[in-house]
């Protein structure tokens, strides 16, 4: 479904990273492993259409991602890729449910109220749906950001260091939640991490 071919990126400082080829099939779960500064975030940004690589290709169902126009790329990102950032990054002036709404609206899709409520339900934050981000705990915020990433039923769920700031118990909870949600929503999962604790949960690993 998503593959990268002879991808490399040159940083402004002159450093070059060459990425090994990768092929993620539908509903597969992958770990993206590497020390900090090894280019994990760069690859994530390239995969989600946020950063144009210096050379090589990202193919989505065989179509080169960076061959799309800017507008098409925005739409593609909004509709087919869900991103969970290291930090929740919710919009502070909007309530939880509105933060989910805006994900649909910004991608140009219509709101699927039922699906939104179901997501909140399964992530156990349904009671928080009308609260604002500054009223929620860190863990709740992270679950909202997972719900937001899944709201448009993406083909690929990308998580960038989702457990780095969590303790052991919470880290396991989060990785379990990501796996379950990806499974339930029919999405492939790619988790970028240098966290040894979650390696046992995902068998496919891509090393940088």
């Amino acid at each position: 479904m998503i593959s990268i071919k002879s991808l490399s990126h040159h940083y402004p400082g002159g450093r070059v990273i060459n990425f090994p080829d990768l092929n993620i099939a539908a509903m597969e779960h992958w770990l993206l492993l590497g020390a900090s500064g090894s280019g994990k975030s760069t690859l994530m940004n390239i995969l989600s259409g946020l950063l144009k690589p210096t050379s090589g290709e990202v193919l989505i169902d065989g179509v080169p991602l960076y061959g799309l126009t800017l507008r098409e790329m925005d739409k593609f990102r909004g509709a087919r890729i869900g991103i969970v950032f290291q930090r929740p990054h919710l919009i502070r002036s909007l309530s939880v449910i509105e933060n989910l709404d805006i994900a649909a609206s910004m991608a140009g899709l219509t709101t699927d109220q039922e699906h939104q409520l179901m997501l909140l339900e399964s992530l156990n934050i349904i009671d928080e749906k009308d609260k604002f981000p500054d009223q929620l705990s860190q863990g709740q915020l992270q679950r909202v950001s997972v719900a937001r990433a899944l709201v448009n039923k993406p083909d690929l769920l990308i998580a960038d260091e989702p457990t780095s700031s969590l303790d052991d118990v919470n880290a396991v909870q989060v990785i379990t939640m990501l796996r379950e949600q990806a499974q339930a929503n029919g999405a492939a999962l790619l988790v970028a991490t240098h966290d040894q604790r979650i390696q046992p949960f995902i068998s496919n690993a891509y090393l940088l």
Binding site: N45, L51, S93, L94, E98
Partner: protein, 406 residues
Amino acid sequence: MISIFTIGRKNLLRNKLTAFLNITLVAFGIGILSILMLATQQISSKLEENAKDIDVVVGAKGSPLQLILSSIYHIDFPTGNIPVSDARKLAENPMVRLAVPLALGDNYMGNRIVGTDQSFIALYGLDLGWGKFWEKDLETTIGSEVARTTGLKVGDTFFGAHGLSGSDDVHKQHAYRVMGILKPQGNVTDQLILTNIGSVYKMHEGNEHQDEHQDSQQDSKAEINNREITALLIQYRSPMSVVVFPRMVNKSTNMQAASPAMESARLFSLIGIGIDTLKWFAAFIMLISGLSIFISLYNSMKERKYDLAIMRCLGASKFKLFFLVLMESLQLTVAGAIVGILIGHGSLYVIGFFQEAAQAKLNGFYFMTDELYLLLAGIVIGVLAALLPAFQVFKVDIAKTLTSER
């Protein structure tokens, strides 16, 4: 479905005080402009309405503006009197179609008593609401506002007081009788008490003459010839006389001719300086409001960079976010403009409510299409203030912003 309009509104609500300050600034600027626009428009149309069928006013020498104000708008004091014989000569001039004599000098509870003849009815096209027009001495027909404010009804009697306002010196020896009440005319005649010239003379004679003049109109007409009146309102037979007639009056008689159109234009050019100053003041406030909106948007962009990057991540195009910033600013200025227009109408209503000079009473419910320009001004300020902050949307590096620490 959540629109950029809603997001904009919610962003504004996060900083209620800033939004309030910005709306207030816009509203003040627009409000002042709105008051000026509505007031000048209403006053000038009122003035025009009152003078529309009068081509020229002849009266005693003095300030032409004063002559116009006293004899058409019934605001100022008259310039003096003119001999009836001279006035009659002018009235018979072939250039004159209609000449209406006025004898001023008394009031009843601040309403001016105007001595005139039946030609006044034709000049203003007066309609009766109740009763009949005045005929004999001491009979009066009163304007609708006079009836409303004084409570006088047909058949009532009242005493006039000497002077154009105040009631210290009452003419106790003769009582006026109300014969009729006019329908509301929408001009100065609503505030006047109309009677014949003979009545006004009667008031100002000593008691010793009383017996000689108490009878018919025939008598009073005869005596008019060697008496004085205040002014003569004149309608020309042809517009050609505009140039010739005033010059003739001003050069060959001891009277002056003043044109209502020219004098109101002069009056407005005098007031105009004050109006211009206020307009610049309002424009300055609006400039400040634009600056204030610009600064608050610009400052918030730093913290909003994350929000904008997230929305880009969620698939929003740069243009959508550009309009989001624009929309926020527009919501402030359009709200401000609407509040400003309401302030304008509200102030006029309040001023009109407490206004004494009923001749140019202001109305808060008078709307004009030019107010749409005020709304447009609000939109322009909104766009200008938002332009620079909104362009920053195009510079946000999403990947860098989201991976960096907050």
